[in-house]
Symmetry: C2
């Protein structure tokens, strides 16, 4: 016995929030946050929402659209800073804001690198950055170079080679691995031993390294701007 819309059934069934694209995407983010992007399947997402798998396709074109939409929600979380004096502190703070946001959603980096076109929130983000630089006197040409020099660092992450950002290795296994490495590859091994805390470098703090690299690049931008 179906009822008119807007009149929820008073029976034992709990009030069902109607499915919507917004609810589908928000739940996708929550699911990926909790269990990783590998757990974000159409079937598992539907189970999470307690709906039929096929009902999802009413709000989402396909899996790609689902990932685009979930990622867009994450990028939309980045709060734009606007109260800093000068382009350099503003850009630096914005990028660290983006980094903090992506840290809350560790799966997002991996999704970003598979996307081929910008989502609305990403375009909004880029528009504010381009505007910031243009207002500071950067030429179009220089803004273009800036985007290529920065690359993924604009969104707060660097594409490091062969590391698992979600699961930092146990320092003790890292130290053992570094010593084994040194047997075959003495020079990279020496470095690994140093970085794994035994050599006095005090381990590798990726956040510190990110900021160091960011400042090196910001230095470069300032010089490019002066020479432009």
């Amino acid at each position: 016995m179906p009822r008119a819309t807007g009149t929820p059934s008073p029976r034992t069934t709990p009030d069902r929030i109607p499915l919507s694209r917004e609810r589908v995407l928000r739940t996708a983010v929550v699911l990926a946050d909790r269990a990783g992007v590998g757990a974000l399947g159409m079937r598992s997402l539907a189970r999470e929402l307690a709906v039929d798998t096929m009902s999802l396709y009413h709000h989402v074109r396909d899996k790609e659209d689902l990932l685009d939409g979930a990622l867009d929600l994450v990028i939309d979380e980045i709060v734009l800073v606007g109260d800093r004096p000068g382009w350099r502190p503003t850009l630096r703070a914005t990028i660290l804001e983006a980094r903090a946001t992506l840290k809350r959603h560790p799966w997002a980096k991996g999704v970003i690198v598979t996307r081929t076109s910008g989502t609305p929130a990403f375009l909004r983000y880029m528009d504010s950055i381009v505007g910031l630089l243009r207002d500071a006197g950067f030429s179009l040409d220089l803004v273009h170079h800036t985007i290529h020099v920065m690359g993924s660092r604009l969104l707060g992450f660097s594409q490091d080679l062969f590391d698992d950002p979600d699961h930092p290795p146990d320092p003790r296994v890292a130290a053992i691995g570094a010593r084994q490495l040194a047997m075959t590859w003495p020079r990279v091994g020496e470095l690994a031993i140093a970085v794994s805390h035994e050599g006095g470098l005090g381990g590798c703090d990726v956040d510190v390294e990110f900021e160091i690299a960011l400042d090196v690049i910001l230095d470069g931008l300032e010089r490019m701007r002066a020479a432009d």
Copy 2:
């Protein structure tokens, strides 16, 4: 009627090269080069080799091992340059060598960003780079920073945001898209129009941009070295 090993059948069946890990991995590279990493499945690879799917598991632990091995062959193709005067020209030429190699195997970038541990050829490559910098007087600390500043650029590619490196867009559609973009996002749109050739910037040559960014970063390294 099986024959002794080494005595190929003289019948209609063509001489079968016996399956080996090497042959499996080399064929995987060829298949991915031709049809993309999406076409590199256990079943399709077996078909390419004209063997049973399950026979592959005799030479490869699983799919991850297959990807690791195929990628290792690619990285092993990078020829190390050793005849340049000074660390900066040597590093620059090595990185551009790596870029040329990855360009011959467009799928490799996408595989690299999913790997979590270094393959043998990658360690050999890194060992030569660490050695180059150490021999030039870089401290361990500075080499460590260098690796983080460089990131994926060490292997000749930058992680740009939202672009499809394999399929550069048609300039004409790009120009139309840029103009549509400018309606909603004026500042990023202005840049897109300029980059899509209409504004006089002459399009976007990713190879040129890569070298510009590389030189900016190499400048930064030289300054870090001077200050160290």
